[in-house]
């Protein structure tokens, strides 16, 4: 049964129908890419699935449960985590703290326990820190060591993207929604990140949905590709199928000009 599914999803902003009747599904452990020209509604799709907006119609089903209409923190707690197109970290918190915040929804020490530093709270805090460091180690040696205590805003662009992914991982999700994870990266970083996404699936068993523009990444990492244009799903299939699909090409490049009727 698909772990994440949308049925007839609808969302409009003012007069603009950003998402029109989109059916989407992904099985546990799959990696699916969503592509499409700018303004196709891809980020809006993520925003609705992750709870930032409520859908106007249709359903979002997570493991069979309808999660439309819930708050983003509820959805993250349920097991869907995301990153943002324009990396949104907590710039003045340290690298480690950014990731530790991700563990918030998986821990439970309340006010009283924190004030009294009960043994269970101390244990939990240690666990949070351990888990955070463990997750950061996933990225090699870039985000560990002295980096842990540096405020996030000193990081380079690529590192910030990695940190955002780390933070999402810290929420122990089942599904990761990555919004243009390689935007702004140079070729070497892009290759690295592509490998990383693969490892996210193979080592950590995440189900991943990626919005991407870089076709090399899409080709290198996806099991399936979904194409959106103007809020509508216009194609779905393997990379090979989709990349040769006429409608897809037309959506990106337009139709050749019809010159006969112009004179």
């Amino acid at each position: 049964m698909p772990i994440l599914e949308t049925k007839g999803l609808e969302k409009a902003f003012g007069g603009v129908r950003a998402i029109q009747g989109v059916d989407f599904s992904i099985e546990p452990g799959e990696i699916v890419s969503i592509i499409g020209p700018n303004g196709a509604g891809k980020t809006s799709f993520f925003n609705v699935v992750s709870g930032i907006f409520n859908p106007d119609g249709g359903q979002v089903l997570f493991d069979g449960l309808d999660i439309s209409g819930h708050t983003p923190s509820q959805i993250t707690t349920a097991g869907i985590a995301r990153t943002f197109q324009n990396v949104r970290l907590f710039p003045n918190m340290t690298v480690l703290e950014n990731v530790m915040v991700g563990q918030h929804c998986r821990t439970s020490s309340g006010v009283f326990k924190s004030i009294l530093r009960t043994p269970s709270q101390k244990r939990e805090e240690a666990e949070i820190e351990e888990n955070a460091k463990d997750i950061l180690a996933f990225f090699g040696s870039r985000l560990i060591g002295y980096r842990l205590d540096q405020p996030a805003f000193v990081l380079s662009y690529a590192n910030r993207r990695r940190l955002e992914i780390a933070r999402a991982m810290a929420t122990e999700p089942q599904v990761l929604l990555l919004d243009e994870p390689t935007a702004g990266m140079n070729p070497q970083e892009t290759v690295e990140l592509t490998e990383l996404i693969g490892r996210l699936r193979s080592e950590r068993a995440f189900t991943i949905v990626i919005i991407e523009h870089d076709m090399r990444v899409v080709q290198g990492v996806s099991d399936r590709v979904v194409v959106l244009d103007h809020g509508v799903k216009i194609a779905e299939g393997s990379y090979g199928e989709v990349s040769t699909n006429e409608d897809v090409i037309e959506a990106y490049l337009g139709r050749p000009a019809d010159l006969e009727g112009a004179s």
Binding site: S50, G51, I52, T71, P72, S73, Q74, T76, T77, A81, R82, F84, R88, L89, F90, P91, N92, M93, E97, M100, V101, G102, H104, C105, R106, T107, S109, G110, V111, S114, I115, L116, R117, Q121, E124, E125, I128, G140, S141, R142, G145, Y146, Q150, P151, F153, V154, S156, Y157, A158, R167, A168, T171, N186, Q188, E189
Partner: protein, 603 residues
């Protein structure tokens, strides 16, 4: 960056011998306006009653001539740029400063003339009087004032500018010496009590007018300046060690500071007289409330302007439950018995205030909480609810706090101080523990970017409500203690003003930072005084709130992170400076970008 850039005409100083006329005129006019302002709002007259150095210098004249002093200092400000030498002092700056003084003095003299010519405006401007003319012209009359005022102002301004010729250490010593003289003079009550306790009578120090005498002034100056000069590491060392990156050094100096402060706090009430203990109690109340507001604003980033309402809830609940005269509630509880109910009511109040504002933008939240605060006050004052809360009469006969056989109330100032301090410690402890916990991180994330925090799994509803409730509970500590101490509650103690004063303390002291908030309370309430309570500088009287307002504006413009900034805050507000430094220097402990893959740290 070993640039040998020839310093172009930087905005803060001028090279060569040109006089920047426009700037001089501008600063001079400002100085003049400042001097007129100080006179016309009555500051000069009121402060004149207090002598700083007997018999020459009164506080009024100190403030008056502070204007040309600051004007002069403007011309020796140097921007500190990395790798460049600051510009050397030049006689040019002193000249410009002197001219500024002259302009300022002339404007002040002109104003004195105007006041002298139109004496009939007294009915509208009560300070516009012959006395003012007397003061402003130093008793010499309007004519001579045109020479005297500019002359003195010029000298003051030039002297201030002239300090740039002194080597750094000497300058610092000079400033410390002068400040020490002013401080010892103005804080005479404390110093006096201290010497009383030591049973040493420093006759030479103070004169009958409670100001420092000339010999005393000289002695203090020499002592303070000398200490500063010959032990420059004294103060610096401590603050540097407290701010050190090294964990163990920082911990050790924090513990030492805490112990010293602790001993002082325990010893202090013993030798202070009644009035000063009263002051300490007030400082304590505000410190307590500031700690609570710090949780709401500093940690969670929610600008609550109606905070005084929680204080009122604590006070009135205590009053209703413990006073025999309470109109509706019969069985008289003791303070301790009432206390858990007080906490519960406060928590409910926090919930009640927090829930409607959960989805509001920052400034709207501020105004709504302000509205809540006022609604509570108006209701408590109303005739409608008078049967429960006493209306304009308030609640009276509130008994004190029974402890260890005695009762702590208005008659036992020393015990009261200890009681309040104990609660301050508890509140500080609670804040500290919460800051470094899971909820503290959630608050920090929420403060940075609420939407993203929500997306990362932080339940912002719970986090915000927790903040409000914690803040409310801490305020109710203060409320309950206040009710017991004063023995009665009236709504005058719960005006918006109090919320704003607490806000100023939190912000000026250092938002989000416990030592900062405490320092803020001590400095502001201790020196300036609270809305209804005099501080050490009693002369401030009506000008307290003016000072609060001015301080708030000043801090926001120059140093928004507060007097004692938390590291995070400083980062937040000066991000560009920090980023640059991070770019330029690696932490010494790490051997550079120690990344396995060669040269991959792209910037």
């Amino acid at each position: 960056m070993t640039a040998t850039v020839a310093p172009a005409a930087t905005p803060t100083g001028t090279t060569g011998s040109t006089v920047d006329l426009a700037r001089v005129i501008r600063v001079g006019t400002l100085v003049g306006v400042g001097m007129v302002y100080v006179s016309v709002i009555g500051l000069l007259a009121t402060f004149n009653r207090r002598l700083v150095i007997d018999p020459w210098l009164s506080l009024g004249y100190l403030v008056l001539f502070a204007a040309p002093m600051f004007g002069g200092l403007q011309f020796i400000k140097r921007e500190k740029l990395e790798g460049l030498e600051p510009e050397p002092a030049s006689i040019n700056d002193v000249v410009q400063a002197a001219i500024v003084g002259v302009i300022g003095g002339l404007i002040a003299a002109l104003f004195a003339t105007i006041v002298n010519t139109f004496p009939d405006v007294r009915s509208v401007f009560p300070n516009w009087s012959p006395e003012l003319v007397e003061l402003l012209t130093l008793g010499l009359g309007v004519g001579p004032a045109f020479l005297v005022l500019p002359a003195i102002s010029a000298v003051v301004a030039a002297a201030a500018a002239g300090t740039s010729f002194l080597p750094e250490r000497m300058r610092k010593a000079l400033v410390v010496g002068l400040l020490a003289v002013v401080a010892v003079s103005l804080f005479q009550p404390v110093v006096d009590d201290f010497f009383d306790w030591l049973e040493v009578v420093p006759d030479f120090l103070y004169t009958p007018t409670r100001a420092i005498g000339v010999p005393g002034a000289i002695a203090v100056f020499v002592l303070a300046a000398g200490l500063s000069y010959f032990r420059p590491r004294g103060k610096n060392g401590l603050t540097r060690r407290l701010g050190s990156e090294d964990e163990s050094v920082r911990r050790r100096s924090t513990i030492i500071t805490a112990v010293i402060v602790g001993v002082a706090m325990i010893a202090l009430p013993r030798f202070l007289g009644g009035i000063l203990n009263e002051l300490l109690v007030n400082v304590g109340f505000f410190a307590l409330m500031a700690l609570g507001l710090n949780v709401v604003i500093g940690y969670a980033g929610l600008l609550d302007l109606g905070y005084v309402a929680f204080f009122a809830v604590g006070a009135y609940t205590t009053g209703v439950l413990t006073s025999p005269l309470s109109p509706t509630w019969d069985p008289m509880l003791t303070w301790w018995q009432a206390f858990p109910i007080v906490l519960a009511m406060a928590a409910l109040a926090g919930l009640f205030v927090g829930t409607p504002v959960l989805r509001m933008r920052g400034d709207y939240l501020a105004i709504v909480t302000l509205g809540f605060g006022e609604i509570v006050r108006i209701l408590l004052l109303s005739d409608w609810l008078a049967p429960y809360f006493g209306g304009a009469q308030g609640l009276r006969n509130i008994p004190g706090i029974p402890i260890f056989g005695t009762t702590v109330n208005v008659n036992t100032p020393q015990l009261m101080v200890y009681m309040v301090m104990a609660f301050v410690l508890i509140a500080a402890f609670i804040s500290w523990r919460l800051e470094n916990s899971r909820i503290g991180r959630a608050w920090a994330a929420m403060r940075e970017d609420e939407d993203v925090a929500e997306a990362v799994g932080v339940d912002t509803v719970k986090a915000k409500l927790t903040a409000f409730i914690t803040g409310a509970v801490i305020a109710s500590f203060a409320g309950a203690l206040f009710a017991a101490k004063v023995g009665s509650v009236f709504t005058n103690s719960f005006e918006i003003l109090v919320s704003i004063v607490i806000l100023v303390i939190v912000i000026v002291g250092g938002m989000g930072n416990i030592p900062g908030v405490l320092v803020g309370a001590v400095v502001l309430i201790g020196i300036l005084g609270g809305p209804a309570q005099p501080g050490l500088l009693q002369e401030f009287g009506e000008y307290k709130l003016l000072a609060y307002g001015a301080l708030l504006v000043f801090m926001m413009l120059k140093r928004p992170e507060g007097l004692v900034p938390s590291k995070r805050r400083q980062r937040e507000l000066h991000q560009d400076e920090f980023s640059q430094d991070a770019w330029l220097d690696r932490t010494p402990s790490a051997p550079g970008p120690s990344v396995a893959e060669p040269g991959r740290e792209t910037f």
